[in-house]
Symmetry: C2
Subunit: 513 residues, 2 copies
């Protein structure tokens, strides 16, 4: 049981302040004010590092902290570990990688950085985006060398200048989460599931010194479970994800995105941990940038399997079509925001299709079985002729044929004259029946905003903009890395890179008691 | 002097929580957690209502609170009252107004609301935007009936469907701030200048009960002045403006906008009051939407006089030209974001010009003198011929002439065929020398984000999304009203409307002691 907190703590009223050349820094770091109740008189448990969340970032942080010799408490509010990461699409970006070298694809850190900033509308915090790009190859290689993750090859994700995304053999984030959990178990760290972060304990000296958690928590009942206090001798790492499944907080930041919109996120992607972090003095940055995934289907719930077809096959070998006009409406390999915006702009009645030749090219071993299951579920539809496809989806036939003709001329020319789409080396003309098609509809996928951090993954204080001692934030809970819109496959690189940074830095802290 | 705070207050650790149908509400209202030091044992001063800030919103709140019989402390950190309001452009939007009726301009609340949401990219909190639109005529009429504000007529601001903005005879916000201060003085309320809000005191029961201020404050030295505690028996109204003059906080939310960018704001438009509000549990919404004013000149500092020419004259009777091409590049009456984005997209080398006929039409009495001063300062330039103007600004002459010819055909046709600009009834062909021109360059003008409020101007709590007892926020310090981009002349309506709401509601509180 939680002990009764004592109520003595320092007043920070008087404070001091700093005036910087060229700008006013509101309050000095010394002026930080603790926002939580004071420390418990005794703690129920004690660890060097408390990691909250078991997606890529949380597990990477726990891994590095444990490897550095720290004792680690690893908390997960849901019944199973893995967060959104475990159900995500299974692709991780790296610029200048060994697989690119094999495929003779030239790529640079600058090119990935530029792509991230272009998609992010240059709202990205440049130093954070650069870290992701610079560490990308090291991070992917770490998943291979340290975790034993298995990849099938490279794929070309929307908004990237070149194919640079490693595709996991598992076809989802489980291909990394699984090995992460296994390695952590070897190191003696296991997730404590159904354990909710209820309170971050920030002391009067400004340092985060532990948490109140609820064990036996049953999502989404925030009253459930038994409070326990856990001391963090060195630091707390917050890796609690985004708020994509939280319509209340979404609507605060973008009123269009409340209510009944579907999301690709797992149900635990709610805002309570972020709100708690803000309540003890973290700074919220860029919260109104909420990404819609453009490659999802209204015919299945959540992320589903459609992205593997719409993005992995149809965007490279087929076309995305506005069913009302029979025309293309966007570069099918544009970044997510561009595509989702375009889909909504044409009235959200779009399909992605491919002919049998493209289907064969795009269907790598792992995919074929997935596609069969999509067919069984009625999500992926097969038509013997273009006429049948057009009729079934109420696409005007003549414009559709003209659209295909124009694209086929682009294939001959080696360049997409309509939308400038990257042409795959093995792209072919569209025309061989049968045709495979999915309906498309965007879903809430990633929340770009979150707690402000620096390059060391330290959370910044809302009063001073200085680091909050004892608190790291990594993964989707952190804001600013991706600006207005995250590029596909960059979340893996971001979460693993900053998770590792957070874990290493947490373990290296001197600690407080 | 400030008294030593005692340190007893309730712990909110255990708390309760609420699960809503259709969404998870992170913590219940009962679970709110005080974030400040506890109450002073004794207060230096005591009022019913403490209003912080003396722009439109703060003065309107003080006015209504005093009128309702409350004692009011009115704090202003700078040496003079008025904030950004007093130096603003002097136009206030109202839909369906008496002046529109006189001019036979049809307009509706829905039309203003639609314009606000279009400019705001539909990120506006709909209920807040609607209040501004619905109260717009009442608010303008209040400035006339209650304050005696004087207007010269209507003007057509960018992004508005029709002319609906009352233009102050004073040509700036001083035409309202002056009367507000005078009326307040009659009611016995005077601004206490050089008085910084240092701390909002939020008690363990979740209520804001007063402030710590620094009297004798000298901006921007946040260490300066003497701490005093002021009890607010009923409520505190935060009307502390935006952070347009704070490059550090700006850069946190939009890294492109830090550093050396000029702003139209007064130097006091910094973030420390907002940071303090967030530190005690307000929710920050939409902070990365920072508006650039498109009608400012690099040849003078701040807002200057150029907007009166570029917006008031050249956008209606002349043209805005990309000097590199000699062509128009945007609808000169589009909303601010559209225009500023377009200016940056063409490389930020643009001018606004008008011929002598347009100059005569656009130069109402008050303006002519302002324009003379602009000429003296070299900001407004006069050229005897189009050729001279083109040469001086390195505009290719032939394309410029073609651009004018196309526009003149649009004047004949009664519709702008190039950019769909609203055609003034008295618009004429461009061609009569001399020509008047200003250089343009966007400057940071308004920060759309701020504290989340409800329609009663109550601040919302970051943990619960429920109102924070005893705290109101109005004006630019509040977020969500304008979404992605505020329409010109809507700030007046917003600030005065929500300032009055905040003041009335604060005065109507039962109070706590």
């Amino acid at each position: 049981m939680v002990t009764t907190p004592n109520v003595t703590r320092r007043s920070m009223l008087a404070g001091t302040a700093t005036v910087l050349a060229g700008g006013l820094l509101p309050w000095s770091a010394a002026d930080v004010r603790a926002a939580t109740a004071a420390l418990p008189q005794t703690w129920d448990e004690e660890f060097d590092v408390v990691v909250v969340g078991t997606g890529f970032a949380g597990l990477a942080a726990a891994h590095e902290a444990a490897k550095a010799g720290s004792s680690v408490a690893l908390l997960e509010k849901m019944r199973t570990p893995g967060g959104n990461s475990i159900i995500s699409g299974g692709v991780i970006a790296a610029a200048g990688s060994p697989l690119q070298a094999e495929a003779e694809i030239e790529d640079t850190v600058d090119s990935l950085y530029d792509d991230m900033l272009k998609a992010g509308l240059h709202l990205n915090h440049p130093e954070l985006a650069r870290i992701v790009a610079e560490k990308s190859v090291e991070t992917v290689q770490w998943t291979i060398d340290e975790l034993g993750a298995e990849y099938t090859g490279l794929t070309h994700m929307g908004g990237h200048a070149v194919p640079r995304s490693y595709a996991l053999a598992a076809g989802s984030g489980s291909g990394i989460i699984g090995p992460q959990l296994a390695k952590l178990k070897e190191m003696g760290v296991e997730p404590r599931t159904r354990t909710l972060l209820k309170r971050l304990i920030r002391d009067g000296d400004g340092r985060v010194k532990g948490v109140i958690a609820h064990s036996g928590f049953s999502h989404p009942d925030l009253e459930s479970g038994t409070p326990i206090s856990i001391k963090a001798r060195k630091a707390v790492v917050l890796a609690t994800g985004g708020f994509g499944a939280d319509p209340v907080f979404r609507a605060l930041q973008d009123p269009r995105l409340g209510g009944e919109l579907d999301t690709t996120n797992q149900p635990g992607a709610t805002s309570e941990a972020l709100r708690e972090a803000l309540g003890i003095g973290c700074v919220l940055v860029q919260p109104s940038w909420i990404q819609l995934g453009p490659w999802t289907s209204p015919d299945e719930r959540g992320f589903g399997r459609t992205p593997h077809f719409a993005q992995g096959v149809a965007a490279s070998y087929g076309l995305w079509i506005d069913t009302q006009t029979g025309k293309r409406f966007v570069n099918e390999l544009a970044d997510r925001k561009t595509r989702a915006d375009a889909m909504l702009a044409v009235g959200n009645k779009t399909v992605a299709f491919v002919d049998s030749a493209g289907y064969a090219k795009g269907s790598a071993a792992g995919r074929r079985e997935r596609f069969e299951r999509m067919k069984e579920a009625g999500v992926l539809m097969e038509y013997a002729t273009l006429e049948e496809m057009a009729e079934a989806h109420e696409i005007p036939l003549a414009p559709l044929k003209a659209t295909i003709e124009t694209f086929n001329e682009s294939v001959d020319a080696g360049a997409d004259t309509e939308f400038g789409r990257y042409m795959q080396a093995d792209a072919g003309k569209i025309g061989t029946p049968p045709f495979y098609v999915v309906r498309l509809s965007p879903k809430i996928h990633h929340t770009m905003g979150g707690c402000a951090i620096n390059g060391d993954a330290q959370a910044l204080d809302v009063l001073s903009s200085e680091p909050i001692a004892g608190l790291y934030v990594a993964g989707e809970a952190a804001g600013g890395i991706h600006g207005a819109s995250r590029l596909g496959s960059c979340a893996y690189t971001d979460c693993l890179t900053f998770g590792r940074i957070a874990g290493r830095n947490a373990a290296a802290e001197k600690g407080w008691g």
